[in-house]
């Protein structure tokens, strides 16, 4: 993959806040034209990663490249190509929506006033309303309009649907999909909601304990993981090339969620496709992915995924 095809590339990225390490040795690439989801538990480093990418903070160690250039707060031209939606939706509460859009117009040379006004008009958001009078969902939509109206090539969204009711959440995700299609932008979205990932994303990055544990195309992730089940007494070993991420036992059956490195032979296993939810949770639970597979249980030593 050449540098031109990557919108984001990080090398051994580390960010520390005094004694706390928010990101640790993270290397990551995101190809152009993807809607990538960053998933992980609270405090896993999702927001820190997005703020680094937005140029709001500087790495303690390592490099962070956006469109092949090192990102920093001083690179105005580079930041002009990046839209950022903060998780706190920091808008000026006393301003009218119209004034927020005027703020965007005056601070972005490529600002698309028509798009912003149309987007909010479709959502029935009155431009004369003050920001503090808007609901959480409307405020998120205004922030999203500011983010997209600058016509960014890379959009960074931090929990875009957080604290929204299910309808507003669905509408917002739909908007993001439409905006993505209309703007031909790459999107990097931090979220807790794995359902959102399945709905609109085609690339997934899993962060756990400040480290990246998975960064792949969503289709590939779904294709390369399987649930293998057998009876407890069957004694069939886990197939070669399968790395066990999670083990579940019932009174009669044992099920492994595995990552596959080569085509799978059935060998007496019942094979099912896991949901994305199951895969993500398995990665988040599996703190030691280089799982030892004991011969007693029919598991074999396998490498990290």
């Amino acid at each position: 993959m050449t540098g031109d095809e990557l919108v984001v590339e990080t090398e051994a990225l580390t960010k520390r806040f005094r004694r706390r390490t928010a990101l640790n040795d993270c290397s990551l690439t995101v190809p152009r034209g993807r809607v990538a989801a960053i998933v992980g538990p609270n405090g896993s480093g999702k927001t820190t990663l997005l703020r680094l990418l937005a140029g709001l903070s500087k790495p303690t160690q390592g490099r962070i490249m956006v469109f092949g250039e090192e990102m920093s707060a001083s690179k105005v031209d580079l930041r002009a190509r990046v839209g950022y939606l903060d998780q706190d939706r920091p808008l000026y509460p006393r301003w009218r929506v119209r004034e927020i859009l005027e703020f965007g117009r005056r601070t972005n040379p490529a600002w698309d006033s028509e798009f912003a006004a149309r987007h909010l008009s479709v959502l029935d958001i009155d431009l004369e309303s003050r920001v503090r009078e808007l609901s959480g969902g409307q405020r998120a939509q205004v922030a999203l309009a500011v983010c997209f109206a600058k016509r960014p090539e890379l959009v960074l969204l931090d929990e875009p649907a957080a604290a929204l009711d299910p309808v507003a959440r669905q509408d917002l995700l739909q908007n993001i999909t439409e905006l993505f299609a209309d703007n031909d932008a790459s999107v990097l979205m931090a979220t807790h909601a794995i359902d959102d990932v399945a709905a609109i994303c085609d690339y997934v990055i899993i962060l756990s304990q400040s480290r990246i544990v998975l960064s792949e195309d969503l289709d590939y992730v779904l294709e390369s993981h399987r649930l293998l089940s057998r009876g407890l007494d069957d004694g069939v070993p886990v197939p070669r090339g399968a790395t066990v991420l999670e083990e579940r036992r019932t009174t009669r059956e044992i099920t492994y969620l595995v990552r596959l490195a080569m085509p799978l032979e059935r060998d007496g296993w019942r094979i099912e496709r896991p949901t994305l939810n199951e895969i993500v949770i398995a990665y988040l639970r599996d703190r030691h992915r280089s799982t030892s597979v004991s011969s007693d249980s029919g598991l074999e030593q396998s490498g990290a995924p």
Binding site: R51, A54, G55, L56, S57, K58, A73, S74, V76, R79, A80, V82, G83, Y84, D86, D88, P90, L91, Y92, R94, W95, E99, E102, F103, G104, R106, T107, N108, P109, A110, V146, K150
Partner: protein
Amino acid sequence: MIWIAWRFQRSVVCALALLALIIIGFAVITGTMQHHDLMQFMGAPCHGQQRLLLGRGDYCGVLDVNLSHLRNYNTSIEAAGLIIAPLVGAILGLLALANEVESRTVRLAWTQSISRTHWFSVKVGVGGAIVAIILVPTAVVLSWWNGTIGEKDLFSPHTYGIAGWDLVAYGLFIFALTVLLGAVIRRVGWTLAVSVLLFLVVALAVPSRVRSHLVTPTVSWSQPYLATKGDYSGVSYTNEPPQSASLLLAGVVPRSTIGIPTWSEVLATLPGVLTCENGYGMKTQSEYVKGELACYKKLHVENVAVYIADDQFWTLQLREGLLYLSAGLILAGGALALVRRIEP
């Protein structure tokens, strides 16, 4: 960007401008009335005294009472004059940075297609200009008010601080100080508290420790008494500074002192003089004076008064104002350096 900086603070600016207008209006109205009544009272036929006039009754007494009533407002105007500059500077300084950092709206501003340097320069530039626009007319009116009916002691704290262009310089200094502290502390309440405290420290330190270095003070030497005239009553210094001058130092130092005497020289000399004087009989006023004169002669010391004469008022205002402005520029530069590093 100028529109954004203005929009962000316009309601606060309007409130502060209104406050300044109230102070200005109050000073103009009460100042004009006081000046008018004072001229009437001091001129014929009253000549500054309450006297009954034929056909006009107690006209002078009424004028005097009116003047007394109007003078009651002067303390309020002086207090308002002392408060307005730090108030305007500190509040607009808070809005320039601390408020935006605390409310996290810098995350919105700093992720748009403008540099932090540009954002900061415009915000501080507009804020500083507003401080000056509010304080310049206030300073002009208060200087007029001061000259018309205020105290004649130009250097007293509640006179010097509200007269001349230093009022504007104070406002700009605390504005820059608050911006810098906002970049360090990043909390509105604490920034305001520390900023006001530091400003008070500076405002108290400058008159006693800095002013004497800004203009050349007058040094006045004298013998302790006008003994040759036989008048031993009262005064310690035969050559006291003018009443409206700013007295920086008064005491006893060796006559051989080179340059401008300092408090440390006064404190070093005083014990020797006191020891000497104790050796003389000090029972009567005459003995006391004789003893002191003898000691001064024996120890080769004299009384000295160091003061800034009132004709140096505007020179001092200009230099002190420039000092505050220079310090303000340095503080703003420091704030810019911090802004480029802040991780909001």
